[in-house]
Structure formats: structure tokens, C-alpha cells
Symmetry: C2
Subunit: 438 residues, 2 copies
């Protein structure tokens, strides 16, 4: 270590919400431990937040205050800027850009910022020789960013997938355990603070898609490309879907999954069926989990708290500790910044089994017409469930089919043929079945 | 990066068994990818192994050969020595010591070496300013060493525990699934290559204890102290124990667990009951898993392959990649080497619930005498199972009790009183119940 490395590491914190206050609490409680581990003190020299006077339960009297968070990037008494404001643009982006350009290390928990602007920001960080660390942006406390860009880098990655949104996982878990419907459980989740007043960001899959785009960038080295993620939310999942899946041996989870298909980048977020007895199917409540497939590791699985003051602040401070030790890895794990834009995999390239939920009028020939269409399109049926007969002949009844492996392209053609059948009484609903490892 | 950092990183490999050959295969398949990720080539310049002529399926014609592995430590054309020989002493230890003293980085997969001599070797590495990396020594491909000494270092660690031996976990899983006895399943495991011809190292808990001692060193910073680990193996576990536990809502796992109890280091390896529905209870077959508790992260859980050519070599090469990037962390995560020797927690300090298996003669007053003893020692009983009556009155029948939380000290006194009862027909068997997180 050089003389420089023993000087205190000076942090500026922009944003004193849950995560920012969590960071201050870690420094208060574990500051000495962290100094013993890194060989230097870590101290906060400046902060910026919306309200100066709010009581946050931590003493900030010795810390400089900036009304404008972007001003933190210009301070001489700051080595590392912690961007904990949030939002993909505005002050967060200006602050990070200016801090990197001023050769200050940056640590951020901002998934939207990295998902939208990660490629460009990583280029600046590499050019300036500073860190741009964002462990807290993906799966909260789970150290998956560092696992992908450091520990597991001997591998050519296969599929990376996981449960990336605790709100959705809580809602789906509750729906399964109580048999209640989506809207009902969502209300409870809001009352418990597990879902926002406007829940669309979470239940619509956007939050998970931000994290998935970042994981894809880390795993495959192409520019992070949020706009290419195929996103579906959990709003349409019914208690009935969950029950039917269960009787067929599956649980419904909001899964984010990315892989290369013939060199093209596939990124999907949406409700999928996962087989009972797999680690991912057993992740319940607000937890997050990520599985990494690699050519030598086979599969490694990480589970932990995906949000919350302590876990998120733990991830932020893990990034700070790396910087305190002089450990700087290129933001996306590739020297030079990355491989440029990816070729995007065709939406219909998805290969796998599918869950198909139909409403068919209970009349002679209805099922035969459906099975003939599958057969005509070379799709074989693995199992089928018709749980009830109509009380009045000719009324629609739910029919659920699980297909064997096929392509989304082929399935879509079959589904539109089924939609045109006289016996078909509602828009067919299709969910992919996650075929990854046991 | 300096000019130096762009030069190829030159490896010497000592030992060309499963792991050594795995490393060569990774370099063959992913060498270019690794160069793109680190910004420099990684190449093998010298090797040493038992037999020079053995066909290992990899081309070594351009690589220097040393008959004496220790000679690798002195070569000028080597930056990093990979110690893949094994054994806690002998050539492995000499090689690592001399390599560190010659200011060469060392990467090892040798859990016995680190468990026995980790503290001293870490001191040399810190003094010489080089890396001593041993990710592969604990839980194979799971990146738990780096998680503990880097990612999660903002936390004051609580309990660290896990399933650290794939052989035992395979045997226990098979026993549960098939109802067969230990000896029978062990034979199969040997035939499948999951257990060694001499299985005592695995089934006796020694291998898990090596790994646990290393985890304890990383989590708490005291000198690694293998001799202080309390070790019990799985040889005494019967199909009956597994069945009885199952009906009480538990699965039996070989668990390694370490924590600080009032500042004293507790390290235990042995069969324990874990509640159904916890992540650790669902780890089946040859997999390994580690859970880390910390004051801010709460709990983080890692699962993956604990052994095998690919996963172990992936961990070794992850360590090499860190060195290629110039990322060097003190071996035990504390600057200066560590906190010195730990105060060792008293064996009887263990607090928790227990599974107690008795053979009681089926006669009036037998059960009453047992429950009175527990009551006299302030131990309350959570549940009890007496599954059968004796065919001949007075013959012994199995009785299983689950206690509420108590101390090992108190329980031991009660158990010796029970042993002296006239109704008691065999040595009582006691297993701790893992009380850690859901």
C-alpha cells in the first residue's frame, strides 16, 4: 500500500432516503470494523438531500451540506460520490457524469440510471480510471454483480435468471398461500409497505427489467440495452392460474431471464411457470434470487433480501470498501468498456414448453379442434387439465394445456388459429415454462 | 493500468489431478474471453505432477516441467503458483511458503493446508504484499470466500453455516429418499465416485471441518483454528433417525456452523435437524450451500456445486483473474493479517433445541421418569413421538423428544440422569436442531 492508501476515504452522499440513512448507520455502527478491514478510515465529508432540517436519527453536524447534489461532484474533499437519489435522468445522471469526469469514484444504487445509461457511464469510468460500482442496483443485498464481474469470470456464461422484484414475489406467494386474487393481495402489500401507492413500476415488471438488463450487460459484455427487454407484468395472473399450475406441478414466479441465442441477446421478464422442487420455486415472500449458469461452474444460486435499508446499504458499502482497498474492476467486467451493441434475439426465438389457458365452450368437437391445431403445428401436448364441466351445456369452461418444448413462433401461429375457433370463448392466455436446471 | 499490468500473467501449476486439468481446460476454452476481461493474456509456463507421461488430454509440450513441485516457487518465469497438490503439509506447504517468500502470488484449492496453516501463511502473504487466494478450498464453485472477505464486509457477521460436504449430503439425501441405511448408501456413493474408497475423511466430518474453520477465520478475523472445531460425522445416523425427524418436520443435514458467543469462537460440524421449508433443508444431493448472517444484510444464501473438475477449476481461475487485474485483498480480509488467536467457546455453551432419541423399556413409569428428569432440569419438551408399542411387554421401544431451547450443558446433565434409569435400554442419542433463520 502507498501512503495515499492509508488516508481516510472521503465520501459524499447524494440522497438521504432509506439507503442513504442506512449507509450512515453502517458507518456509525461498523466504522471501526471497516477501518480494520480496509486499513483506512471511511468518513462522510458532504451530503445533499431534499430537506436539510428533517430528523433522520443520525448526526450530520460535522458534515458539509450542498443544496444542489451535483455540486458534490466538484468538491475537493470528496473521493467517492454515492448517488442515492434515484431516477434515470436529471440530477442523478448529471451528478454521476460530472463525478466520473472529475475522476471521482462513483457508487450508485440506481438501477434505472444504469439500465438506461450504463454503457455510456461505464465508458467514462474506464477512460478516467475510476470505479463505477452498482452492486446495490441489482437484487439488493445479494452480491451478484461482483460474482458475475469477478468471482465467476472464468466462465462463458449461459443463462442468467432470477426473481428480481420482491413486491411481485410477495404478491404471488400470498396469492398461492391464501387463494386470494391479485387486486386483493396488492392492497395488503401496499398497507404493509411492500408495494408503492403507484405499483405499476413493480407489478408491471419494469423494475425487474432494469435489473435484468444490467445482469445481461455483466454476463455478456454488450452495451446494457433496457429497451430491448421483453417485459410482461403480473397484473393478469389470477388465483385460478396459480391453482391450475400447482396441480400440474408448477409455481408461477415473475422471472427475469437472459441468454445468448445464436449470438443474439435474449432478455425476458414475465410471469413463468417453474417446476416445484427447484431452488427458484422455493424462493418466497420479498426475497430475491439469481441463478448463474456457466460452462465450468454449471450453476450457482444466490438468494437474499432484494431491498430494504440494511441490505441495500450493505451492498453500497461493499462497493465503497472495494474502493477503499484500491480494488477497481471495469464497471461491466470487460477491459475497454464492452463489446458494443448486441444483436437482439427475435422475440419468437424463445424455445421452451408453454402453459396455455383456454376458455372453451363445452360442446362436442371443441377439444378435438384444439388438439388438431396443436398437432398440425407439430406441437405435442405434455399434459392437460379440464377441471369442471359447464352447468349449462355450451357454456365456456377453463382448459389448461402444457406443451412439450416448441418455439414461441410456432406456438403463436397455433394460438391464433385457436382464437378463431367457434368453441373458443376468450383470448387464450400463454405463459412460458422455465426449463432451466433442477 | 501500468505497462506491467498488460504483460501476460504467467502461471505455474503444481498438481495435474482433476482440478489442475480443469484449469488447463478453462484456459484452452475461455483463454481469449479471460484476456478480454482482464486486459492481459494468462498463460501456463511451468507444471509439476507425479507422472510426466500420463495422457491428460491437454497439450503440455510448450510448458516447462519440474519433477519437484517446490522448484516452481523459484522460477523467474512464474508470477502465480497454483498449488493443487493437496495435503496439509509436505510439498504443498513448502511450495506455498517458498512461493510467498519469493513474492509470488499463490492460489490454492487446498482446504487442509489453509485450515491448518492459514494464519501463518496469511502473515507471510501480507508481509510480502502478494495474494494468497483460496476460493476453491471452501464449497467448490460457490464464491463464498470472496463474498465474506469483500462483498459483505460492511457487516459485523453473525452466524455462518452451511452444507460443506457433498458426499455426506448425497448420502443423507439418498437415505431419506430410499429409506435405506447408511452403509448401504455409502457403497453406492463409492461406486458412483461420490465417496472415496476410504470415506472417513468425508463421512467423519473432517473435510467439512476444514472448510468451516476457514469460513470462521474469514468471518471473524481470528487465526484459523481447525483444532478447536467440534466434529461429529454422519456414520451413526440411521434410516430410523431420518424417518422420525421427518415426521416431526425436520430433515437431517451435516451442518457446519460458526458464530461468536460472548466474544468466544464457536465452531461445530455435525448432523443437525433443520426445519422443512428452509433454504438449507432443500439442498439435496452433492450440492453445497452456505448462509451468511450479518447485522445489515440479515441473511444471504449461496448454493452450488461443492466439488468437481469444472466448478473447482472455475474457483481457482476466478482467483487468478483477480490477480491478473491487480486486485489483491488480505487473505483473511483484515489488513495486518488478523486478530490473533480466538478465545474458544465452551462446548456446552451451545444454545438451542435438541432431538433426543431414547430406547425405553415399555413398562409403567418409564416415560414419567424421563419427563420428570427434563422438568427437574428446566428443559421443556416441544414434541414427542412414540411410534410403536413393544410386542412383548418390557421390551425397549424408540421414543423421540424435541426439546425447547436450552443449553447443551443442561441437556447433558439430564441425559446422564436418563442413562441411569432402569427403563433406559440404550445410550441416548442427541442431535442439535438448527435454530437459524427461516
Amino acid at each position: 500500500m502507498t501512503e495515499q492508501d492509508h488516508k481516510p476515504l472521503r465520501l459524499a452522499i447524494a440522497g438521504l432516503g432509506t439507503v442513504g440513512v442506512g449507509v450512515l448507520k453502517i458507518l456509525q455502527k461498523n466504522g471501526e470494523l471497516i477501518a480494520a478491514r480496509t486499513g483506512r478510515a471511511v468518513e462522510v465529508t458532504a451530503v445533499s438531500a431534499r430537506s436539510r432540517d428533517k430528523d433522520r436519527g443520525v448526526d450530520l453536524s460535522a458534515v458539509a451540506w450542498e443544496d444542489d447534489p451535483v455540486a458534490l461532484a466538484a468538491r475537493d474533499d470528496v473521493d467517492v460520490v454515492l448517488e442515492l437519489i434515484g431516477g434515470s435522468d436529471g440530477a442523478a445522471k448529471s451528478l454521476v457524469e460530472q463525478a466520473l469526469n472529475n475522476k471521482k469514484h462513483v457508487v450508485t444504487a440506481n438501477k434505472a440510471l444504469i439500465a438506461h445509461h450504463g454503457a455510456g457511464l461505464a465508458d467514462i469510468a474506464v477512460a478516467k480510471g475510476v470505479a463505477l460500482n452498482f452492486e446495490a442496483a441489482v437484487a439488493g443485498g445479494i452480491p451478484i454483480v461482483k460474482a458475475l464481474k469477478e468471482s465467476l469470470q472464468a466462465n462463458d456464461y449461459g443463462r442468467v435468471y432470477g426473481i428480481l422484484n420482491g413486491t411481485c414475489n410477495y404478491i404471488l406467494t400470498e396469492m398461492e398461500e391464501t387463494g386470494r386474487d391479485f387486486a386483493d393481495v396488492l392492497k395488503d402489500a401496499q398497507a404493509l409497505g411492500y408495494a408503492e401507492a403507484d405499483p405499476s413500476f413493480d407489478v408491471g415488471g419494469i423494475d425487474a427489467a432494469h435489473k435484468l438488463a444490467i445482469l445481461a450487460g455483466l454476463a455478456f459484455g454488450y452495451d446494457i440495452d433496457f429497451d430491448a427487454v421483453q417485459v410482461d407484468g403480473v397484473e393478469q395472473i389470477t388465483a385460478n392460474d396459480i391453482n391450475l399450475s400447482k396441480s400440474l406441478g408448477y409455481r408461477i414466479k415473475l422471472i427475469g431471464s437472459t441468454s445468448l441465442i445464436d449470438g443474439a441477446l435474449a432478455q425476458e421478464v414475465g410471469p413463468m411457470l417453474v417446476p416445484h422442487g427447484t431452488p427458484i420455486s422455493d424462493v418466497s415472500g420479498v426475497f430475491n434470487a439469481v441463478a448463474v449458469e456457466g460452462d465450468f461452474i454449471n450453476q450457482c444460486f444466490f438468494e437474499g433480501p432484494g431491498a430494504g435499508e440494511g441490505p441495500t446499504a450493505s451492498a453500497v458499502m461493499g462497493d465503497v470498501i472495494d474502493i477503499a482497498r484500491g480494488l477497481v474492476t471495469p464497471p461491466l467486467g470487460l477491459v475497454g468498456g464492452g463489446r458494443g451493441p448486441a444483436k437482439v434475439a427475435d422475440k419468437d426465438a424463445h424455445i421452451g414448453a408453454f402453459y396455455v389457458h383456454l376458455m372453451l365452450r363445452d360442446e362436442p368437437g371443441g377439444m378435438a379442434a384444439v388438439t388438431n391445431i396443436f398437432s398440425d403445428h407439430d406441437i405435442s401436448i405434455a399434459s392437460m387439465l379440464q377441471s369442471e364441466r359447464a352447468e349449462i351445456a355450451g357454456d365456456p369452461v377453463p382448459v389448461v394445456l402444457i406443451t412439450h418444448e416448441t418455439t414461441a413462433a410456432r406456438l403463436n401461429v397455433a394460438i391464433s388459429a385457436i382464437s378463431g375457433l367457434k368453441a373458443n370463448a376468450a383470448l387464450p392466455r400463454v405463459l412460458p415454462i422455465a426449463t432451466f436446471g433442477e
